[in-house]
Amino acid sequence: MVVREGLNEAAVRRLAELWQEPEWLQDRRWQAWELFRSLPLPPSTHEAWRRTPPERLAWDGLSPVLQEQGSAEAWRAAEGLRGEEPILVMHNGAAAGSAGLEALHRAGVVFCDLRTAVREHADLVEPYLFRAGLRAEESAFTAQHVAFATGGVFLYVPEGVELDQPLVVAEWVDGEALVAPHTLVVLRPHSRATLVQRRTGRARGLVNLGAELVVGEGAQLHSVQLQDLPQPAREFGVVRTRVGRDATARSLVASFGASVEKLFVESLLDAPGGSSEMLGVFFADDAQHYDVHTLQEHQAPHTASDLLYKVALLGSARSVFAGLIRVHQGAQKTNAFQSNRNLLLSADARADSKPELEIMANDLRCTHGSAVSRLEEQHLFYLQARGLTRQQAVHMIVEGFFGEVLDRLPVERVRLWLEQKVAEKMGSQAPLGRVTALRGLLEEVAQGR
């Protein structure tokens, strides 16, 4: 048995009480607890963990957060992300407030915190939660996620309901603790939704994130996951999307914060006609360490996936991208693309890239590409010759680098927020792209990239 102080039976019981959860969920939690007690950390010799020793995500001395209700601080922190759209504000997995949900309710949409959902919409939640995309038995980390699930968000969109406005979740995470928020999205056939989630706060512990996104037949989901935790925080996460027949899933994962992040972002295409776009923006500095695994799993014919992950590194930051395209036998007429681009902005940065293909069908088109490069002195020179400082020139090139991804975003405010984060990392006040006089230059650089 593995001794795991702080993460004990009493804590599991307390969480189950906080949730006032039904028996079926308690069963899942306690099964996960048994697994958590017996599963060792993955060995650092394991290929998936070789570049990020699991010890870096250890939970020694941490207890699970037992947040009863959200705080006003969480609400205030959400301001920057608020607009007209429906919003849920969460604090360590507990609801801290909401706005603009009335119209959703009238349409039969359920958009609420997960604790409420398991009590009031058990019939909708039970078939999917910790089943559809993430299972406790995968590893010590997923077992931990389920056993100590602290709360989260549930979105259910009924058949045929199309939501034009994006739905926003502002998640505030604080304290030196284990926080395990969960997201469950169920889009019934021919529905449509956009979900924007942002994690921010004053966390100093470990965030163990899980997301299960189920996109039904002919449905369309656009999901955006923004991670902006402070640097002492560490994060492990699994984001898994199931893409149904003729369904479309588009996702963006963007990370700026945390000292260590280990993410598994996966799209499972198990019915014909499914299509998945996977975008990634990762910008690390100082000694930040990002390790991202992606999976494009084609299990059915006539499926398509297109992945573009961009990574920029400053300081002594390190990134690992390990992306796999797997096309199963019989998954003919598959189109799968994967591209990973890494931009090294400092002499001490380090990028590893492992783009992998496992192809068991023959009638398909599948490509991947990967590149690691530095700033082109020519470009810098060109921009400086037009009056920019070197720092501005670098900033402009980085904006151009990420622009290819940001231009594909559906929500203007999210794009602005991302540009602002890029500016902050570059030590600038504001994104350069907003300075009209510089737009033309930016386009010229973008064309040369």
């Binding site: 010799t45 290929e47 036998q329 019989g330 003919q332 890494n342 090294l344 902005l345 400092s346 002499a347 940065a349 380090r350 990028a351 590893d352 890239s353 492992k354 783009p355 992998e356 293909l357 496992e358 192809i359 068991m360 069908a361 023959n362 009638d363 398909l364 088109r365 599948c366 490509t367 991947h368 590409g369 990967s370 590149a371 690691v372 490069s373 530095r374």
Partner: protein, 467 residues
């Protein structure tokens, strides 16, 4: 305390097994200290090599099996002959060969004498004459080209200085195994400034143990030298051995160039687990041209360590996997110095349930400024039961670099086929042409006779692939 250059303690292996004077070696299965001692004794080796073997055996026993890549669980180390005396190898007669091997030789148009040689039937044939005339040429220039056993006896200082310094026994389990029981292989020494114009081919060495399970090849190219070594042959090599595990070590010094060409076509019962590694010094060039058609499982990742400025590496890899085959070839380039360049091109074809692909590593050490590397992998899957895998890894520790990797997997497009067929070309021939075009970038790098044979071989493998 006496040691060899790898630090192996000779005294520690002094008290070992000693052969009785009139000992008759009988080949037997399995691996033990005694078997290793016997091999060394029969070869009349110096103490340091015996110590190296015994040390390696202990390393082999301790090293775990690889946990990645093709499954090797059917490999039974106790069911393998680790050494067979050359005379025993050669008693096999032409008539004993399986019919399909004989037929393949005939269809490839390989001369009878060479066929016998390939089949392991010890025989003299016309290239002996060629060999001798070339040999005189080389010797005048100071080039050494002998089997490695002979080299240990005739050039002990040279062998001792380099042996095991590129691939130490601890590197991996199969390198350790080879280090313990190696036999045969080529030793090549090219003095400074000498350009060996004619490719050196393994099968010229008719007196040696040519086709070994555990070959050990060592090539040293002194500054400004050039050599092209061609290992094996394109014809299928018949063997009853189930395991082939070679180690190849190459040292390419300043401004020198070495090209190493292999077209591997072991019979389809063989596990082919090979460690090939070269180190290239300032402005030196190392080129691996590696074709894999035979064997049951091949794991082979020729690598180049670019350790001084201006060093270059080129790796070309072709793999063809048919029924029951798993080809897991690839390449590794380590950029450990500034302004080093490399390129890797891989082409793989899978068919009839076969599995082929690419596994590779590009590593750039900090300080290897201005390094450039381009990797290109293309796979063709000819039916819906076959599989292709691409596993590249890039570890980049230096900012000032240009590293790119691209891979595609596709089928033979209907448009291509339609185009060719509309010009009156039969479907099977059209398919053949497309596959030939696919591997053309590598075939054109082969010596002519090999390119011709490669094309014929692929045509043979392609038979029956069309409806």
């Amino acid at each position: 305390m006496a040691t060899n250059p790898l630090g192996i303690d000779l005294d520690a292996y002094q008290w070992g097994f000693r052969m009785p004077e009139h000992y008759v070696f009988k080949s037997r299965k399995g691996l033990s200290r005694e078997v290793v001692e016997e091999i060394s004794y029969l070869k009349g080796e110096p103490d340091w090599m015996r110590a190296f073997r015994l040390h390696s055996l202990e390393v082999f026993w301790k090293k775990p099996m690889p946990t990645w890549g093709p499954g090797l669980s059917d490999l039974d180390f106790d069911d393998i002959y680790y050494y067979i005396k050359p005379t025993e190898r050669q008693v096999r007669s032409w008539d004993e060969l399986p019919q399909e091997i004989k037929e393949t030789y005939e269809r490839l148009g390989i001369p009878e004498a060479e066929r016998k040689f390939l089949a392991g039937v010890g025989a003299q044939y016309e290239s002996e004459v060629v060999y001798h005339s070339l040999k005189e040429e080389w010797e005048k220039l100071g080039v050494i080209f002998v089997d490695t056993d002979t080299a240990v006896r005739q050039y002990p200082d040279l062998v001792r200085e380099y042996f095991g310094t590129v691939v130490p026994p601890e590197d991996n389990k199969f390198a350790a195994l080879n280090s313990a029981v190696w036999s045969g292989g080529s030793f090549i020494y090219v003095p400074a400034g000498v350009q060996v114009e004619v490719p050196l081919q393994a099968y010229f060495r008719i007196n040696a143990e040519n086709v070994g399970q555990f070959e050990r090849t060592l090539i040293i190219v002194e500054p400004g030298g050039y050599v092209h070594y061609v290992e094996g042959c394109t014809a299928p090599i018949y063997t009853t051995d189930s395991l082939h595990s070679a180690v190849v070590e190459i040292i390419v010094k300043e401004g020198a160039r070495c090209r190493y060409t292999t077209i591997q076509n072991w019979s389809k019962n063989v596990y082919n687990l090979v460690t090939k590694r070269a180190v290239a010094y300032q402005d030196a060039t190392m080129e691996w041209i590696d074709g894999n058609l035979g064997s049951k499982i091949t794991m082979k990742y020729p690598s180049v360590y670019l350790v001084e400025p201006g060093a270059k590496a080129e790796i070309l890899s072709v793999a063809f996997a048919g029924a029951g085959q798993h080809q897991d070839p690839g390449g590794k380039v380590i950029h450990a110095a500034p302004y080093t360049q490399s390129s890797i091109v891989s082409k793989s074809i899978s068919k009839d349930g076969g599995r082929a692909g690419y596994r590779g590593l590009v590593k750039v050490y900090k300080g290897a400024k201005g390094s450039k590397c381009a990797v290109r992998c293309d796979a063709l899957i000819l039916d819906d039961r076959s599989r292709s895998d691409t596993y590249p890894t890039m570890e980049i520790d230096e900012e000032d670099v240009q590293i790119t990797h691209e891979a595609t997997v596709s089928k033979v497009s209907d448009e291509q086929l339609f185009y060719l067929m509309s010009r009156g070309i039969r479907e099977d021939e059209a398919m053949n042409m497309i596959v030939r075009g696919f591997i053309e970038p590598i075939a054109k790098e082969l010596p002519l006779e090999y390119a011709v044979e490669l094309n014929r071989l692929i045509a043979l493998e392609m038979e029956g692939s069309v409806g």
